[in-house]
């Protein structure tokens, strides 16, 4: 028995919020079944035969720790009690104790006397210490209310549904009374007319906010009135009920108080007529000193009922209850919660905890059950991240939306051509950044002696970029004109960062090629990245290019210089594959802003009649994106967006569309993720289509599966991971089987040219030579490239092959 109990206890504590029975282990369950069966047999075979439900029996067994004899006793007495009550309630008469209805040995099972260790607390220990008793109305607001009235250890038999026991009510009332008494104690003792105190004290609680225990008491009020008649009680301590419905004696240790006590019932209208015997009894019993703290703790003093009426057991001097000053108004009625329960109840409600017993008894307790149900539903608030898709038809939404044209353009050119500064000027002049920020940049740039870099700092946000005065990574910034929303993709010009420039250019619809017109700088640029960038942009599918001939102020806006540059560059660009009509030239100065957004007023520029840079940008035809193709998006960046969005990715949608709640697949990891929310060009949106720059806030995926360069697609139309591909490439340098870096947007990985299939004719694509040993620059060849790791690539994707810091080839997957 004890072994099982121990197990039960541990369950009590661990699964406090659960129904303890559910979590019992099979062994215990089996044992319980056995015991139940035994009890049932004993009940039936015993005299008189009693029928009891299985639940009831198990209930009892649980309380008696599977002690069969005690359970039988308990059930018998309970039946008898019910019977008795049925008779006595109509009569409203004090019940006559009957021998057979009384438990034979203890009015309360001894086990219930030992407080439940789990519920024992310091608060409880000092509960009746007067100096800690704040009046109820003062502490009502901070009391934590429990969700359900808690039922007692031995109380809640199914028949007692909805009722809260008298004992509970008493306990509550008494508690309140204590508070009252604390407040009025002085007056009552000084005046010497404590009886006059009674009406005030009884009325008070009605005004005060209801504490939990009062509520408990109120629950049982109706019943109590009648019950009170039949079983008036006095309490073990000097207090009496304030509810008015139940009159309680306030036996006090002082004799004079006792006298007043006997008068008191007279004041109360609804008070039960207490027969002489009772009064005498209470008087007699109250001669004792109040129970010690220890005793109160053990017995749960304040909530323990006292016998107001001598029971047949009263004379039993061995009665533990009596030793501790407890009187029973009647043989204990097990329909209510046991005194221990009341104590536990109070404690638990104070702790805001739900008791195990409540859950266990829910079946037999209708009202709490309702509470329980709502409580449980409150508890079952979903924790899983579940994003609802709005199931929009994204394409029709897109057509409805009537957005401005959106275009990305890459700013390319040799290092120090003034790309970032020119774009900073553009943004500043178009008021896309506020002047105060610009002033701040100016101050800071001057502080480190780089005043001329202030405009570039609009885009060069990185600390290293600013310290070195070099753009390292692409920067995105958007601005709007009347017709179009432009997104600048500012690329680094330094040769070491060409991979970043490739990432930028692959997101661009058209390009702005910035050229330093300064003497010598143009020439060195042409050999350097001006050429490489232009070729790369063309290879990556850019068709239109605006050539911004920058720093014209440094050559005094010389027309000759401009024309020289125009001639050389246009010659080069046409050979690179740009159509002549898609190339335009603008002489400008980023640092002064001439011909960027406003026409230059410099008289030296009077020869130029063409458009400014912004006008030239606006002339560009919008680009058509593959909206109805399967979703493809290259991740540009993986970052922590905010606290709400701990995992975000950014990039431009290459093809297809997506919306909030969509499940996506990342390649090459092959992991699934859900789009929690998304932003288009920095604005929250429900959907996005190809060509838009988006930030996706993802859930249900581990960040290690996401790297910049990975491809987002749908599980229904996934992109395949491949380790080798055939491509038709334009050689920029001599091609031979060798190690190369393969670039595709942000994605780059090592690989090698394993086979050179053929050189092709540039225009017709016919095979010129099979298996060439080497492919000369400018020729087109079909090659096979192998990689060490599988990467998401599919035809027709544009790839760039680099080796030793130079672009060796660029082409199209086949």
């Amino acid at each position: 028995m004890s072994r099982h109990r121990v197990k039960n206890m541990s369950y009590d504590e661990e699964d406090y919020e659960d129904d303890g029975y559910d979590s019992q282990d099979p062994e215990e369950q089996e044992y319980l079944q056995q015991c139940t069966q035994e009890v049932l047999t004993q009940l039936q075979t015993g005299q008189p035969s009693i029928a009891a439900t299985r639940e009831e029996v198990q209930e009892a067994l649980w309380h008696y720790y599977n002690d069969v004899d005690k359970s039988v006793n308990f059930l018998r007495s309970k039946r008898a009690k019910e019977l008795q009550k049925k008779q006595s309630v109509p009569a409203a008469a004090p019940p006559k104790p009957k021998g057979q209805t009384v438990p034979e040995y203890y009015p309360i099972p001894p086990s219930s006397l030992s407080p439940h260790p789990a519920h024992f607390s310091a608060a409880d220990f000092f509960r009746d210490s007067p100096w800690l008793n704040v009046p109820a109305h003062r502490k009502a607001e901070i009391l934590v209310e429990s969700l359900y009235p808690r039922l007692g250890l031995l109380g809640g038999a199914p028949e007692a549904a909805g009722k809260v026991s008298k004992l509970a009510a008493l306990a509550a009332a008494r508690k309140k009374k204590e508070g009252d008494k604390g407040a009025s104690a002085n007056t009552s003792t000084m005046s010497g007319f404590p009886s006059g105190q009674a009406p005030t004290s009884t009325s008070e609680p009605n005004v005060a906010p209801l504490s939990l225990r009062e509520r408990l008491a109120a629950n049982g009020k109706q019943q109590k009135r009648s019950d009170g008649l039949q079983s008036p009680r006095t309490l073990g301590k000097a207090s009496h009920s304030g509810a008015g419905s139940v009159s309680l004696k306030v036996p006090s240790p002082e004799p004079q108080k006792l006298e007043s006590l006997s008068d008191k019932p007279v004041d109360e209208e609804k008070t039960i007529a207490i027969d002489e015997g009772e009064i005498a009894q209470s008087a007699a019993s109250n001669i004792r000193a109040p129970p010690s703290t220890f005793a109160s703790t053990i017995v749960g003093d304040t909530t323990q009922p006292r016998m107001a009426e001598p029971s047949h057991l009263y004379s039993n001097t061995l009665d533990l209850m009596k030793i501790y000053g407890q009187d029973l108004a009647e043989p204990f009625d097990f329909t209510g919660p046991s005194p221990d329960d009341v104590v536990l109840n109070a404690q638990n409600s104070a702790k805001g905890m739900k008791s195990k017993q409540t859950a266990a008894k829910a079946a037999g307790d209708k009202k709490p059950q309702g509470d329980l149900a709502t409580g449980m539903s409150n508890l079952n608030v979903g924790e899983k991240v579940n994003i609802k898709s709005k199931n929009l038809d994204v394409l029709s939404e897109y057509h409805k939306s009537n957005r401005k044209n959106a275009m990305n353009f890459a700013v390319i050119g040799h290092v120090d051509a003034g790309k970032s500064t020119l774009m900073g000027r553009l943004l500043a002049d178009l008021k896309a950044i506020d002047p105060r920020t610009l002033d701040k940049y100016k101050r800071e740039a001057e502080k480190i002696g780089k005043g001329s870099f202030a405009l570039a700092w609009v885009l060069d946000q990185g600390s290293e970029e600013r310290a070195r005065g070099v753009t390292i990574d692409i920067a995105m910034n958007k601005f709007e004109t009347d017709k179009t929303v432009f997104t600048i993709v500012d690329s680094p010009g330094h040769r070491d960062f060409v991979p970043n420039m490739i990432a930028g250019a692959s997101q661009a619809d058209f390009a702005v090629l910035v050229i330093d017109s300064g003497t010598g700088n143009f020439e060195s640029g042409l050999k350097g990245q001006t050429k490489e960038h232009a070729l790369l942009a063309r290879s990556l599918g850019v068709q239109r290019v605006i050539v911004a001939v920058n720093k014209m102020d440094s050559v005094n806006w010389s027309k000759d210089r401009f024309e020289e540059i125009e001639q050389q560059i246009s010659g080069f660009l046409t050979t690179a594959g740009f159509q002549a009509k898609k190339i335009s030239f603008v002489p400008c100065s980023g640092i002064s802003g001439d011909n960027v957004n406003r026409r230059s007023e410099d008289p030296n520029v009077s020869w130029y009649k063409g458009n400014t840079l912004v006008e030239e940008l606006e002339k560009t035809e919008p680009y058509i994106h593959a909206l109805d193709k399967p979703l493809r998006m290259t991740i540009g960046d993986v970052f922590r967006g905010s606290v709400q969005n701990p995992l975000s990715i950014s990039g431009r949608i290459d093809a297809g569309s997506l919306q909030m709640g969509d499940q996506i697949l990342t390649m090459p990891s092959g992991e699934k993720a859900t789009i929690r929310s998304l932003e288009v060009d920095g604005e929250p949106s429900d959907w996005a289509v190809a060509g838009q720059n988006v930030v996706l806030n993802l859930v249900n995926i581990d960040p290690i599966h996401l790297r910049s360069g990975d491809v987002i697609c749908r599980a229904s139309a996934p992109i395949a991971n491949i380790t080798s591909f055939t491509a038709k490439v334009l050689a920029f340098d001599h091609l031979m089987p060798s190690m190369v870096d393969i670039h595709r947007g942000r994605l780059h990985m090592p690989g090698r040219i394993s086979k050179m299939v053929a050189t092709l004719d540039k225009s017709s694509g016919a095979v010129v030579k099979k298996r060439p040993k080497i492919v000369a620059p400018g020729n087109v060849a079909r090659i096979v490239v192998e990689m060490d790791h599988a990467v998401p690539l599919e035809a027709p994707t544009r790839v760039v092959l680099r080796s030793g810091g130079e672009t060796v080839a660029a082409g199209l997957l086949e």
Binding site: S738, D741, K773
Partner: protein, 401 residues
């Protein structure tokens, strides 16, 4: 590797007893031992015996086993060589014909026997094998030049050890570093995290003693090459300096041996560029690696110039040799040692005979490149064999295959 005993007969058969002393010797052993050879080495074998009562007991016994090699398994990372084959000698515990895998151990002798059968079975100690043996038994101790290289780019670092004969990629560090964004300091944070992880990994791989007591230790530190495009390597160097001056003073020992160089990318094949940089050449002067890299660059240059004085690919090179183009005065046959590792005896014979022919008959130079170096890998990309020619040859179309 120490040569303990050498009994190679004139006909190419014979035995050598060798004692590997350092991990790279295992790689030499891997190149020397071929399937079909006889290897004798100490072995630990678990013997299961059954008593009369039916109970079984197992015991580990040390044996000297001779096996006929069937296959080799080399783990380049940990430099462990496992040689599998059938036992040839009978002992108390083993029978002839049982299989056993010998794990060659450092500082334990092993004896390798190569046979030349009458019917051409087995290749014996051919010129390549003897050359390899000479390479392996380098008594002068000249090849101590070793370096640690970290080839990195944003979010990616390859830590590799450059030895005389091979480059071992010890570890790859890969991290997702947030890109620069408006108002985001994540990039800098991500970079310092990346530096930190790289440094921790590097020190672990170098088995660098970071305790403060090691400051006075006289243990030599290998040159540490930091290479990257852009400023990553410089940033890493700065990071090491700051760590050395704050938390880990022991790192100060490391600082003088750091060389920051430029590389085109963070991938391993950029290492060739790293090793060509003047700063590195000064430290690793005239290592085999540097010579090999130079050779490959020369070859590529010839190829690029389209002088027709360079060719690559097995058939092309063989035909060039047939035409006598790989002769004295500039003819160089470049062969990857991967070809000699071939499991196929005929394949190996083909290349050995080509090498012998160029060296002895044609009078050209032969260079065997280690396939575990970057230059060797470049050569492997070209089919494992290439040649610099003394005169240009017009190549005919090789459409046939």
């Amino acid at each position: 590797m120490k040569l303990i005993k050498n009994k190679i007969e004139r006909n190419g058969s014979g035995t050598v007893t060798l004692c590997p002393e350092e991990p790279e010797d295992m790689w030499h052993a891997y190149n020397l031992i071929r399937p079909g050879d006889i290897l004798q080495a100490r072995a630990i074998r678990r013997i299961t015996s059954t008593q009369e009562t039916g109970s079984t007991s197992t015991a580990r016994v040390q044996l000297m086993l001779r096996i006929r090699v069937k296959n080799l398994d080399f783990d380049p990372q940990s430099s462990q060589l496992h040689v599998g084959g059938q036992i040839m000698n009978e002992t108390d515990h083993t029978k002839i014909g049982q299989h056993h895998t010998l794990d060659l151990e450092l500082n334990r002798n092993f004896t390798l026997e190569k046979e030349t059968g009458s019917d051409g079975e087995g290749v014996g100690w051919d010129s390549i094998a003897i050359e390899m043996l000479k390479d392996a038994v380098d008594e002068g101790g000249k090849r101590r030049a070793e370096a640690v290289a970290v080839v990195m780019q944003e979010g990616l670092a390859h830590i590799c050890f450059i030895g005389q004969f091979r480059t071992i990629l010890k570890q790859k560090v890969e991290m997702s570093v947030p890109r620069k964004r408006h108002g985001g300091g994540d990039h800098d944070k991500g970079m310092s995290k990346f530096y930190q992880v790289t440094l921790d990994t590097l020190l672990r791989q170098m088995e660098f003693n970071t305790s403060s007591t090691s400051l006075s230790s006289t243990e030599t530190v290998r040159p540490l090459l930091l290479a990257s495009p852009g400023f990553v390597a410089a940033g890493f160097h700065k990071y090491i300096q700051s760590v050395a001056s704050t938390t880990t003073p022991a790192l100060k020992r490391l600082l003088p041996s750091i060389i920051v160089v430029h590389s085109a990318s963070g991938y391993l094949h950029s290492l060739s560029e790293v090793l060509q940089s003047p700063a590195v050449k000064a430290v690793l002067a005239d290592t085999k690696y540097a010579r090999e890299t130079k050779l490959m660059d020369d070859f590529m240059e010839q190829l690029r110039k389209e002088t027709n004085k360079a060719t690559y690919g097995p058939r092309e090179v063989e035909s060039a040799v047939d035409q006598g183009a790989v002769g004295p005065g500039g003819g160089v046959l470049i062969v990857s040692n991967r070809l000699f590792r071939s499991q196929d005896v005929a394949e190996r014979k083909r290349w050995v005979s080509l090498v012998d022919r160029v060296r002895d008959v044609e009078g050209g130079e032969v260079r065997v490149l280690s396939s575990d170096h970057e230059s060797g890998r470049r050569l492997d990309g070209l089919g494992g064999v290439a040649a610099l020619l003394t005169f240009p040859i017009i190549e005919e179309d090789m459409d046939s295959d």
